[in-house]
């Protein structure tokens, strides 16, 4: 599974070596959260580690892109994290980073923009001087703008649209579920709006959104006690502003099932499906649904129902997973990145690519299994095993200082206790009845949206609309057990409830346009 590492990939692991000699203490006891007199908020996790991690979180993101300026939030963040300051070019910044082996990264989601980096405490002063200048005194230079705008366009046009069917399918699913909603466009923007964006748009977005009121300073590690007041004083240079209070409504999605088939010249068929979910981490049913998503499709794990039925029993593909929170870049990582907090989420099933001859069958299998989940719920045994798994697995999610800080910032956003405590407490109180009620209440699929990516899109559309049986194609002499072949017969004829108007073919050139 079981990850395949090419030679080049393998060396990443080699690069993950170490030097730090001394003890580190991940049991930070002196956790504090507070609102400072300067209107800035902070989440602080001091400990004795020789490393200091920053997560500087601005409560703004792609959902704040003005109409017609989609992508300006992401481009602004790139200009800050990968561009020069007023006094230093980006080349000079990279040269200064080099001996310290540090970087400064940005991540933009709908409601959050986070800047993160970690330095050895020996380099804290120099590193902080650089990154604080990058955020507080940006250069907004023409040559950086030209480069980063071109990167954004090529990311959508080439890297995502033409080189990664799985991520393309997942992102496009969000696009169609949130049609006409502030979450509608990809975080990087749309191709047409990016072409039009100007440096003044970036300056304007920065001025309006990078404010003290939108900022939460996240800091973890062995920094000196004098450091936090210094940051607070420095970032008080930002305009005061008003904290973003936008409430994002649930998307308006018509009842029924809709399928969009992206036509692209590709070897295999990728599938993503899902529907809006009215539950986020602040909701009382979130822990119950976390158990369900883990049981049904724990990310990149063989310990999940869908994986067992589609991959392990039938060998149809590489893996099959389910989610209740946005999880970008899932093919490259085992744990999700923090600071992707959203008021609105979707329930999502990710079916990894299958051979085109099994595309119709695997979609039926996913819908059939989801339907069974909603009808039957979880068994007591599965509930207890999954609850035990998650109770321990939270330690892995928060194994590093940077992850602890990220989760702490998210807990602040959702108004819950620190993530490990929250999960342990909630899971210990959870009952099977809670879980099965939550499944019935939140996961019934009366607004399912489906994205498929395949070469012969018209034929697939015809097959979906026609509704004829689509038998699975096994290699010769597969000799499947009767239990599986019997179930195959049910799945191959499983009704996908769509009419001709519900299934459309989308040329790939139109995606993200």
């Amino acid at each position: 599974m079981r990850r395949f590492l090419s030679t080049t990939l393998a060396t990443l692991v080699i690069a993950q070596t170490m030097f730090a000699a001394t003890t580190t203490d991940n049991n930070s006891s002196a956790k504090t959260q507070g609102r400072e007199p300067s209107h800035m908020n902070s989440v602080l996790l001091p400990n004795r580690s020789p490393l200091v991690s920053f997560r500087l979180l601005f409560m703004t993101g792609a959902a704040s892109d003005p109409k017609g300026k989609e992508g300006v939030a992401a481009l602004t963040a790139s200009m800050l994290a990968q561009g020069g300051t007023r006094t230093m070019t980006y080349e000079q910044i990279l040269n200064a980073f080099y001996p310290m082996a540090v970087s400064f990264n940005s991540q933009v989601d709908k409601e959050m923009t986070v800047f993160s980096g970690t330095t050895h405490v020996e380099n804290l002063t120099r590193y902080y001087e650089l990154i604080s200048q990058m955020l507080l005194d940006p250069g907004f230079r023409e040559d950086d703008f030209k480069r980063l705008k071109s990167d954004a366009i090529n990311f959508l046009k080439v890297s995502l649209r033409e080189a990664n069917d799985e991520e393309l399918g997942k992102e496009y699913l969000y696009n169609i579920i949130y049609n006409n909603h502030p979450y509608a466009h990809h975080n990087v923007g749309t191709l047409s709006s990016l072409e039009r964006l100007t440096l003044d748009d970036v300056r304007d977005f920065y001025k309006r959104n990078y404010t003290q009121s939108n900022l939460v300073i996240g800091l973890a590690g062995g920094y000196p006690s004098s450091f936090q007041p210094q940051i607070m004083a420095d970032f008080a240079k930002l305009p005061l502003g008003e904290a973003s209070k936008t409430k994002f409504a649930a998307p308006k999605v018509d009842e029924g099932m809709r399928v969009e088939i992206i036509k692209r010249d590709t070897r295999s068929t990728a599938v993503s499906l899902g529907f809006p979910l009215s539950v986020n981490r602040a909701h009382k049913d979130w822990p119950a649904l976390a158990v369900v998503a883990s049981y049904f499709g724990q990310h990149r794990s063989s310990n999940s129902y869908l994986y067992q039925r589609i991959r392990e029993a039938r060998g149809l593909n590489y893996g099959n997973y389910s989610y209740i929170e946005y999880f970008p870049r899932g093919m490259f990582q085992f744990e999700p990145d923090p600071n992707l907090g959203r008021q609105q989420q979707i329930f999502q099933i990710w079916i990894r690519p299958v051979t085109p001859e099994n595309g119709h069958f695997v979609l039926r299998a996913a819908l059939y299994e989801h339907d069974k989940l909603v009808r039957n719920g979880m068994s007591k045994e599965d509930f207890e095993a999954t609850r035990e798994f998650l109770t321990k697995y939270v330690n892995i999610l928060t194994a590093t200082q940077g992850a602890q800080l990220g989760y702490a910032l998210d807990s602040r956003y959702y108004g819950i206790a620190d993530f490990n405590t929250y999960m342990r407490d909630q899971l210990s109180k959870l009952t099977l009845d809670d879980v099965n009620r939550a499944i019935r209440q939140h996961l019934k699929a009366d607004r399912m949206r489906i994205v498929m990516i395949t070469k012969d899109a018209e034929a697939l559309r015809e097959a979906l609309v026609g509704g004829k049986p689509s038998p699975i194609v096994y290699p010769p002499n597969a000799n499947k057990p009767k239990e599986i072949t019997d179930e195959d017969k049910i799945i191959e004829a499983y009704k996908i409830n769509v009419k001709a108007d519900d299934v459309v073919v989308v040329p790939v050139e139109r995606v993200f346009q």
Binding site: T7, Q16, M18, P99, E162, R264, T266, S268, L316, N317
Partner: protein, 453 residues
């Protein structure tokens, strides 16, 4: 977000980060215990201060390098998949149930020289995990039907990767640069061999019998554990494992006698890619050449190299450029990968990369740049080593190559000694025209052409 994060992760472009250490400080700073069982199995235990969790990394010294028979490329990786299909005392379902109860993150990977099975989980589950792992290494069991099903999953893995032009570029680079050695194929294998996997059940049994033996295997345990406890469990569950007697004859790659090139026509729209590679030495913890080239990689082609700053930041002709120079058992490639924004600039970028290789055969790198690189490496290590699992993951390549964490210390001691003249000497030895392979990839057009040299 970083716009290029997807491609960067794919390339993983690790600048073989190497470190300078002061003589008094070892590169691998943790106290560890290394014990050999009479059957040849080695155990390395590294207690850390990170609480609650334990990481178990089982390193098998076989990979796609060992796929010496024609038609069997991709087999080491396929075999890694089979190891999850159940064993005599633990069916696949029972195995999953145990790992689930342990709250484990469990997986495996295969590369050219190694196959690594790894888990991280709560410390109280160590006994059960060790028992279960020992069983699959000694008593793996799968039916011909299960074997065929897993072949379907591997085919699915190839298919999911195939959407990326980079996979094809890399595959073509390997096949062009190597003619005899098994590095000619990627770890994934040739597609024709992947398609034939369902018919090779018997070979899978031979593969297990050859390589899944104690003399090929080392267990690394890091985290909230004592060496005594780790040894006790290793003896208990792995002590009766029988030694094997197989040694593969890996074909040597003959010296390259002319520059090589290849071009891939890509069916769908893409920006052009280029790989410029030179034959380079294999891993050594004794000789200087590989260490010298490791240090040159970030200096010549890293983010603050003159070439990067010219092509990416100033001229903006490429949106990605990065070196790759793995530590491999046998001589490998030192490659620079780039993605070019405008197809008309492919030759320009190729020439600029080749000129940079040439430049360091005559020029010495400035001493201050070398010192900054050593500092970078030193801090890279400190920053990356942020969990018990990260420590085990970092050790795995050295365990595969030399079977001891000391290899890391020895290599870093060599880095300390490297001078600008050593770097130039290594560049002169390896960056010759005859050692060069250039592969390009671009959207197929009426005027598609072979890359020149």
């Amino acid at each position: 977000m970083r716009i290029l994060s997807l491609i960067v992760v794919m390339l993983c472009v690790p600048l073989m980060v190497l470190a300078q250490q002061t003589p008094t400080r070892k590169a691998f700073p943790y106290d560890y215990k290394q014990v050999d069982l009479p059957n040849g199995l080695r155990l390395v235990t590294v207690p850390t201060d990170y609480p609650n969790l334990v990481a178990v990394y089982i390193v098998v010294r076989t990979g796609s390098r060992n796929e010496i028979e024609p038609g069997k490329s991709g087999y080491a990786h396929f075999f890694e998949h089979l190891m999850f299909r159940g064993s005599k005392n633990f069916s696949a379902d029972e195995r999953d149930a145990i790992l689930k109860r342990a709250g484990a993150s469990s997986n495996a990977y295969t590369s050219d020289d190694r196959t690594v099975y790894h888990e991280v989980f709560s410390k109280e589950d160590l006994d059960k995990v060790m028992e279960m792992e020992a069983d699959r290494f000694q008593n793996l069991q799968y039916t011909p039907e299960q074997y065929k099903t897993e072949a379907g999953a591997v085919r699915g893995e190839y298919d999911k990767n195939s959407a990326s032009p980079f996979s094809k570029l890399y595959e073509t680079l390997r096949a062009t640069a190597f003619k005899k050695h098994t590095y000619a194929h990627t770890t994934m294998g040739f597609i024709k061999d992947i398609e034939d996997m369902p018919n090779q059940y018997q070979y899978s049994l031979d593969f297990y019998n050859r390589y899944y033996r104690p003399e090929y295997t080392t267990i690394v345990i890091t985290g909230d554990v004592t060496p005594e406890r780790a040894l006790e469990l290793t003896k208990k569950y792995w002590g009766n494992w029988k030694r094997g007697n197989y040694s593969p004859r890996i074909p040597a790659e003959p010296a390259q006698d002319a520059p090589r090139s290849a071009h891939v026509d890509w069916a769908t729209p893409t920006l052009p890619y280029i790989a410029v590679a030179f034959r380079a030495p294999g891993f050594s913890d004794v000789k200087k050449d590989k260490a010298a080239l490791d240090l040159l990689a970030p200096i010549a082609f890293g983010e603050n190299s003159e070439l990067y700053q010219r092509l990416v930041l100033k001229e903006q002709k490429v949106d990605f450029i990065s070196p790759s120079a793995d530590d491999q058992a046998d001589p490998e490639l030192f490659t620079v990968f780039a993605r070019i924004k405008d197809p008309k600039d492919v030759d320009y970028v190729r020439d600029a990369i080749i000129a940079t290789f040439k430049r360091y055969t005559t020029e010495t790198v400035p001493q201050d740049k070398l010192d900054a690189t050593r500092s970078r490496v030193r801090y890279s290590f400190a920053l990356a080593m942020n969990s018990s699992e990260a420590i085990a993951a970092a050790l795995a390549p050295y365990i595969a190559l030399r079977n001891t964490p000391e290899a890391m210390n020895k290599v870093f001691a060599i880095y300390d000694q490297i001078t600008p003249a050593d770097i130039r000497a290594a560049a002169q030895r390896y960056f010759t025209d005859n050692n060069r392979t250039v592969v390009t990839l671009a959207t197929k057009t009426a005027g598609s052409k072979e890359a020149g040299n």
